[in-house]
């Protein structure tokens, strides 16, 4: 979705704008940078914290049905489902409160990654609602320094995966994405990520411009 912008001023022997043109360029870059807040924090939504008890009640119903009819298969199935949904609810007891991802105008931080991702390395942003979880896929440039990820042992938890093939990319999974208590629609999230990537690129160009001015 985001256009991979070439960093116009970072190459060798580039003509840097001067005078009024330079001021205009700086003003435009500042606008792109200030379009997004300095830092945004993202949590998951309370989807499974709300759904978990309802599903647990349903599973208890199955268990109770198994006991009253006297079928062992139904009892085992109900018991297994009850345990599963109880575990799911318990694991999501902090849903919507723990910040798992932070975006700044330069980098993306994720709780399951060993280090931040430089947003200027991102060449493509793809956000998809996969039903149970929301997927954010950031394709990185071939030269990007990749962090490592650690496994997250939570069902439908806030996971991140750094993969090298077919192209270096980061997959971020979470049970919905919210910021400041408001759920984000997937196209809003894609717009936000794209704006942050553009802000990072603008910041890079602004730094190069100020270094040479």
């Amino acid at each position: 979705m985001s256009q991979p912008q070439s960093s116009n001023f970072s190459g060798e022997g580039t003509a840097y704008p001067r005078g009024a043109q330079r001021d205009a360029v700086i003003a435009e870059l500042t606008q792109v940078i200030e379009r997004v807040p300095e830092q945004m924090e993202f949590t998951n939504t309370k989807r499974y914290w709300v759904l978990g008890p309802v599903l647990t009640l349903g599973a208890l119903g199955i268990l109770w049905g198994g006991f009253s009819i006297g079928k062992t298969g139904l009892m085992i199935c109900g018991g297994f489902l009850t345990l599963f949904f109880l575990l799911l609810t318990w694991q999501h007891r902090n849903a919507g409160r723990e910040v798992f991802m932070r975006l700044t105008r330069r980098e993306l931080q994720h709780s399951a990654l060993s280090g931040p991702i430089d947003l200027t390395d991102v060449v493509d942003v793809f956000v998809k609602d996969e039903g149970l979880v929301t997927l954010q896929k950031l394709t990185l440039s071939e030269t990007a320094v990749l962090p490592t990820h650690r496994p997250v042992s939570v069902l439908f938890g806030n996971q991140a995966m750094v993969l090298k093939k077919p192209r270096p990319h980061v997959r971020i999974n979470s049970a919905g994405v919210a910021s400041g208590g408001n759920k984000l629609a997937i196209d809003d999230l894609a717009a936000l990520l794209t704006a942050y990537v553009q802000a990072a690129l603008a910041q890079q160009q602004l730094d190069a411009l100020q270094q040479h001015g």
Binding site: E28, Q31, V32, E34, R35, V36, P37, M40, S179, N182, L184, A185, D187, D188, L189, A191, L192, A195
Partner: protein, 227 residues
């Protein structure tokens, strides 16, 4: 020099292209919301749910049930709650019906909950998403611009077609059932075409003002003298 000639030709082509686009629609359009069908349907469904729920709750005493009365009360109470919720929705939709969603004019768009009109030049695009029940409309704001909309609370957004800023104020989102223009329902292609005409004209005027300021001043004089 040939290069200069080509530049001139391209400049002329760009100028005439921009001028053709800049003369967009001038009339004022008021887009209203029609939600009478949805309100009626919700009220009917609410009545049905309340009736069935009430009947289920009163069933144990009607048939002199001795044990397991909760088997009637629990689903009955759930149905009653759902019916009350739908009744509230019906009330909200009936308030929503007939409200003005947007007032489009040549220079700006006024949202229902905005204090002042937002100039078209603030937007760099819009998206319309036709869902099974409703139509979502998202305007994306240009860098350096802020929306004038106010964020309404959850229930109020059912009762009024308010725009609210999302994605850190970079986008304005609103939803509506049936956009009506002069008593006629617009489908999403017509609405997209209408908004596109206004937005393109405003953007062409803006570009014209940046690249060819002298031409724009001339056309402003021509407009004001009514020629």
């Amino acid at each position: 020099m040939p290069c200069n000639n080509m530049d001139d030709a391209r400049r002329q082509a760009l100028l005439s292209d921009l001028q053709a686009h800049a003369d967009g629609p001038q009339q004022r359009c008021e887009i209203h919301e029609r939600a009478s069908g949805q309100a009626l349907f919700s009220a009917f469904a609410a009545a049905l749910l309340l009736f069935v729920g009430g009947w289920l709750v009163s069933l144990p005493s009607l048939i002199h049930m001795r044990s397991a009365q909760w088997l009637c009360w629990v689903p009955g109470a759930l149905l009653l709650a759902a019916g009350l919720l739908l009744l509230a929705c019906a009330e909200a939709f009936s308030r929503r019906n007939g409200r003005c969603v947007m007032v489009l004019s040549a220079d700006s768009v006024q949202f229902a909950n905005a204090r002042e009109p937002t100039p078209w030049a603030c937007f760099d695009g819009f998206e319309i998403d036709q869902r099974p029940l409703r139509m979502a409309l998202v305007f994306s704001l240009m860098a350096g611009q802020r929306g004038q909309g106010l964020a309404p609370p959850c229930f109020k957004s059912l009762a009024a077609p308010d725009a609210r800023p999302v994605a850190a104020g970079m986008r304005l989102r609103l939803w509506l059932f049936n956009p009506m223009l002069d008593g006629r329902r617009l489908d999403f292609e017509e609405l997209a075409g209408l908004l596109d005409e206004y937005l393109q004209a405003a953007q062409a005027r803006r570009t014209l003002g940046k690249l060819f300021p002298e031409v724009q001043r001339f056309s402003a004089v021509r407009h004001s003298t009514g020629q």
